[in-house]
């Protein structure tokens, strides 16, 4: 059996010694906080005004950087041919894959939480009197939820990449899905009944404090149930990734 702490240490070294980690995570932070600041400066409070949710407007684009982070963490093993060296060193597939995803997911969670809190405070400062505070009902849940959401987006991408075993293929599917397909379908009548169970649509409910915030549609689940739906997607992706790694030749 491979030693789990040793594998975690090794995977941490892998993550911190490539430049893609820095730029993807920095981009996730800058995009989320920056676009959130722009949105909070421009918004006119109206019906269903949700000062918390509005400050997380940048998440739509910021999550894409998290997707890239997640894809590259797993996919670079395949694109570089490192996967054979890695699996020869750690032949237990579960230890290898979940060690890697565990370390990368934890890093994504930390970056996500930092991003969430800074984005929230920045947004509320810009909203001034229209803003809210962490102490207000459900606001803390939404802010912590933003970190959890970013983490799960990254982990979901890692699972999908482990299944597809390619950077290009994974980015080519995940980027348009989260940026276009999911958003478009959730605005189309009938299709939105399905689209609201997509991981990002369901998971992002945790960012809302006010029901039907900013004109979003009504869904038959609460914020935590929505998050659980997203988590189920993540578990499925991880399981799929693990099975592919286990069954297929490296």
């Amino acid at each position: 059996m491979s030693s789990v702490p040793a594998v975690l240490e090794s995977e941490w070294t892998k993550i911190r010694t490539v430049s893609s980690t820095t730029w993807t995570l920095a981009l996730a932070f800058i995009t989320t906080a920056g676009l959130g600041a722009v949105a909070t400066s421009l918004i006119n409070p109206g019906a269903h005004f949700d000062p918390t949710f509005i400050s997380f407007s940048g998440m739509t684009l910021g999550q894409l950087a998290m997707v890239v982070f997640g894809v590259l963490v797993v996919g670079s093993e395949y694109s570089s041919g490192m996967i054979r060296t890695s699996l020869a060193a750690v032949p237990r597939r579960a230890t290898f894959l979940f060690g890697k995803i565990g370390v990368a997911g934890l890093l994504a969670l930390v970056v996500g939480l930092v991003t969430g809190f800074i984005t929230f405070f920045l947004g509320q400062a810009l909203l001034g009197d229209d803003g809210t505070t962490l102490g207000a009902p459900n606001v803390l849940r939404a802010v912590i939820g933003s970190g959890l959401y970013m983490c799960l987006i990254a982990v979901f991408s890692m699972g999908v990449t482990a299944m597809l075993r390619s950077n290009m293929l994974s980015l080519g599917i995940l980027m348009p899905f989260f940026f276009l397909v999911s958003n478009i379908l959730s605005a189309v009548p009938k299709a939105k009944d399905v689209a609201r169970y997509f991981p990002d649509q369901a998971g992002s409910k945790i960012l809302q404090v006010v029901p039907n915030a900013q004109g979003s549609t009504d869904v038959p689940y609460g914020p935590w149930a929505g998050f659980a739906i997203m988590a189920a997607w993540v578990v499925a992706a991880l399981l799929g990734g693990y099975l592919v790694l286990r069954k297929r030749d490296a």
């Binding site: 010694t17 054979r84 020869a88």
Partner: protein, 359 residues
């Protein structure tokens, strides 16, 4: 010690590795020889648990690969150059491998020094030449100071200095009592490094023998005689009952006779000789003969000819001597061969048919 038992790998209908069984012993360099596409790399990947065998097993020091606690401390492998992340420095590429197997950090500096990469340790490995990448791969194989080392085509892309270095390294590792298993498609390379030979063709074991025995059995020796009086020499040889082939006008290759006897024969008949030398057919020829039937892709002289490979192979031994399964009935050609000019892939189909009959 590596024990391979009935190892088989099937890709769809194609058997890449066909019931291979052999052992690789410590203390010697074991050469793993076969033409391109013979299944060497597939076998090596299965030995490292990277590919799942269709059937059969591999044991490393009596255990399955995935049962080894820190595998790099038991077996180190160079599979392909640059199986590393190009955006990471050479040092960091080795460091993450070392950490996964609880190998101390100082060992990374040691192996970098051993392969001569200390000066570029902090450089990203994507800028490395093929030779440097090969050295980095060898450094990763040596990382855990393993008792078993495996190299897949290690001299590919190396300059002469690098080739010399790796030959010396492999011999030194074997002399320390380690198991050294090295693949190549070049017989001449093996002749210089290997003490023991395992030859495969189309995934099947063709030979498992010591290098000395292989040379003894497979290399044809003859005497070359050149004379301005070919008529007289031909008669004299015939008179002495010696088999000779005339390769060029006035040049003969005589088998079954020593140069001394031939010199005396020429003197007796007062024949002038311009050359009299003992010759040994190269091991490359012996290897080509052995694998002629098992070569996956080679050019044929003409269509429908189940004949030896085209090329400068003098004194061809009848096909089917070395290779088991040769000379069997040739099945009808399948519509499976890759689109290629002439009859490329003919033998490949032939082997395919034989195997599917047996399966």
């Amino acid at each position: 010690m590596i024990e391979v038992e009935g190892l088989t790998k099937r890709y769809g209908r194609k058997l890449a590795v066909d019931h291979l069984s052999f052992q690789v012993r410590p203390g010697v360099v074991t050469g793993f020889l076969g033409p391109n596409g013979a299944g060497k790399s597939t076998t090596m990947r299965m030995m490292l648990d990277l590919d799942n065998p269709t059937s059969g097993s591999v044991r490393i020091d009596g255990r399955m690969y995935h049962e080894l606690a820190d595998p790099l401390k038991h077996i180190g492998a160079l599979l392909e150059a640059k199986a590393m992340h190009g955006g990471r420095t050479a040092y960091n590429n080795l460091l993450c491998l070392a950490q996964s197997n609880r190998i101390p950090r100082q060992r990374v500096d040691q192996v970098l020094d051993m392969v001569g990469l200390t000066a570029v340790a902090k450089r990203k490995s994507k800028g490395f030449s093929l030779g440097m990448g090969q050295r980095l791969g060898i450094a990763s194989a040596l990382l855990g100071d393993p008792e078993i080392l495996m190299f897949d085509e290690p001299v590919n892309g190396l300059d002469p200095e690098g080739i010399h270095w790796i030959r010396t390294l492999m011999k030194a590792l074997a002399a320390e009592g380690r198991t050294v298993f090295v693949s190549s498609h070049l017989m001449s390379e093996m002749a210089l490094t290997a003490d023991h030979l395992i030859v495969i063709g189309q995934g099947r074991l063709l030979a498992n023998t010591s290098m000395a025995d292989f040379i003894q059995q497979n290399s044809r020796s003859f005497a070359r005689v050149r004379t301005p009086q070919p008529e007289q020499l031909r008669d004299a040889l015939r008179g002495a009952g010696l088999a000779a082939t005339e390769t060029d006008n006035g040049t003969f290759e005589v088998e079954g006779s020593e140069t001394e006897a031939l010199g005396e024969l020429a003197a007796t008949h007062r024949i002038t000789l311009h050359e009299l030398s003992a010759q040994r057919a190269s091991l490359e020829e012996a290897f080509m003969q052995m694998t002629a039937e098992a070569v996956e892709y080679h050019a044929h002289a003409g269509p429908g000819e189940g004949a030896p490979p085209a090329g400068p192979v003098p004194g061809q031994v009848p096909a089917g001597q070395g290779a088991p399964g040769a000379g069997q009935a040739q099945g009808p050609a399948r519509g499976q061969q890759p689109p290629a000019p002439q009859t490329w892939g003919q033998d490949w189909n032939q082997g395919q048919d034989q195997r599917s009959k047996g399966a």
